[in-house]
Amino acid sequence: MNEMARLQQRRLALYGWMLAAPALALMSLFAFYPAIATFWHSLFTRGTSRRPSIFAGFENYGDLFADPTFWTVATNNLIYAGVTIPVSIIFALIMALWANAHIPARSFVRSAYFTPTILPMIAAANLWLFFYTPDLGVIDQITGFFGASPTNWLGQPETALASVIIVTIWKEAGFFMIFYLAALQTIPPDLREAARIEGAGRWTYTRRVLLPLLMPTTIFVFVNAMINSVKLIDHLFILTKGGPNNASKLILYWIWEMAFAYFDSPHAAAMTILVLLVLGLVAVAQFRLVEKWTHYR
């Protein structure tokens, strides 16, 4: 009998492995192996037909740190993350509160907020090109009406990154709204009633009741926004190409440029590893945070 149970258990284990194997194999091929291979290749010099590539230790990383472009791009990406993450979360929350309130034309409001989410980033960039075009664009037409002179929003270093940031916020806020909307619908309406009877105003209710209850959603959205601040760079291809003079260049775009425009894959690999390290830290931090918050629930 015992023998039978053990046999059954082993058969189940085998089934489990077989079911998971195809996915795990593909995942290894396109995520785990390339991550390790990237690290390995980041330790070698760039080979040419004359000089084969040789082991260089962490030289490629040293080159990156010595390159002023690295610091510009890293700073840009920090600003990009530092602005897009909080601003799109705040917009998402406001949108969700409004899209959840009993207001006229609510379904129109909901779809208006959500529509940018389903557009390709490339298309979004094209739409915004129409806003940013100097002199002829919508923004300059409006400011020109008030007598301001035309501005080359995408072509000058002071405004290029900001222009890119606005498109990203426009694109992702509606997506995050959905998660807040889902969370808001699980909050019982009695809570608001109870808070009102206790004399809590709207602001107090939002701050003391709503926000803490939405915290797990906020963590989830925050992590997604963080990943997006690495990932969402498609619009650069249309709007600025990272320019002028690297003023709007972001890390992933730079990696693409190094690898596929300058064919310098060792340095691209080193940069990729740095990004993966940061993402890994984010992953660990998220698991910690989620653990902490699930204790409260």
């Binding site: 079911l19 290749h41 409004w98 309130a101 529509t115 989410t117 390709p120 129409f130 992933l252 890994g280």
Partner: protein, 282 residues
């Protein structure tokens, strides 16, 4: 009692101040949020070259659309995108269902470690590994093929995670009942678990379609011919400012490429948002 009644009726006749503000704010933000789309739609209907002045008296024209349609093989790009999205979704559904089932209902050695590895993949983005994945796809001889674009996305950690959660929430009694009736493991999966996870499948499918319809960087890297290039890459080549195409034409091309997805969204938006809300992707 009487007082309470008057208070209620007061509330009805006088809409309270907060609500008016909320409505106004919500509407203004909504209009701001779709204005880029509206402007583009309007620009696309202006004669090219003359456009852009916010002069609403000029006549509307469809010539931009006919010009754009003739200039680039959009029909092929559409077909490529549809094939690509279908291929990826099919692969994801099969692989993630099997793996999600394994992680939800089977005990095997190393399962928890493997699951953590799967979760880790949520952070190792395929987008970041472009350099190495490009080398792998080339070595496999899949460069410039639909499979080459799709393969790295098929074992989706997000999909595995979602389906595992969905399968775990199915009461085990349902499974036992089916097994007493003689169902095999695959039968149980097919007849009990997959139907129970329907809303999750719907939500996941919609997210996957939207993601891969819109994906750009990876397809840009692994395609180099009109026979495989998806819409986004085609649009980016067409819209590049250095080609000197003017904004009405770019707007027409943009509107044309997003129209199918936009219409699908407007038709299915209730299901889409409901799917998200119900499946509880949180």
């Amino acid at each position: 009692m009487n007082n309470a009644m008057t208070a209620v009726s007061n509330k009805r006749t006088l809409p309270d101040f907060d609500k008016v503000l909320d409505t106004l704010g919500a509407w203004v933000l909504a209009i701001v949020w779709i204005s880029p789309l509206l402007f583009a739609a309007w620009a696309a209907l202006q004669p090219s070259g003359t456009a852009l002045g916010l002069d609403f008296s000029s006549p509307l024209t469809f010539e931009n659309f006919t010009y754009v349609w003739g200039a680039v093989p959009w029909g092929g790009y559409f077909a490529n995108t549809v094939i690509l999205v279908t291929l990826i979704l099919a692969g994801q559904l099969v692989l993630c269902t099997l793996a999600g089932f394994a992680f939800a209902r089977f005990e095997f050695k190393g399962r928890d470690t493997l699951f953590i590895l799967v979760l880790l993949q949520l952070f190792i983005l395929p987008e970041v590994l472009i350099v190495e994945n490009y080398a792998i796809i080339s070595k496999l001889g899949l460069f410039d093929t639909a499979l080459g674009i799709g393969l790295p996305y098929m074992a989706s950690a997000f999909g595995i995670f979602l389906l595992r959660q969905a399968f775990k929430s199915v009461p085990i009694e349902l499974e036992e009942a089916a097994r007493i009736e003689g169902c095999s493991w695959m039968g149980v999966l097919w007849k009990v678990y997959m139907p129970a996870a329907k809303p999750v499948y719907l939500a996941y499918a919609l997210v996957s379609i939207a993601t891969h319809w819109n994906n750009f960087l990876w397809p840009l890297i692994v395609t180099n011919s009109p026979d495989t290039r998806p819409l986004t890459v085609g649009l980016s080549l067409f819209g590049a400012p250095e080609t000197g195409v003017d904004i009405s034409v770019i707007s027409a091309a943009t509107i044309m490429t997003i129209a199918p997805l936009l219409m699908a969204f407007l038709i299915f938006q209730r299901q889409f948002i409901q799917a998200f809300l119900r499946a509880g992707i949180r």
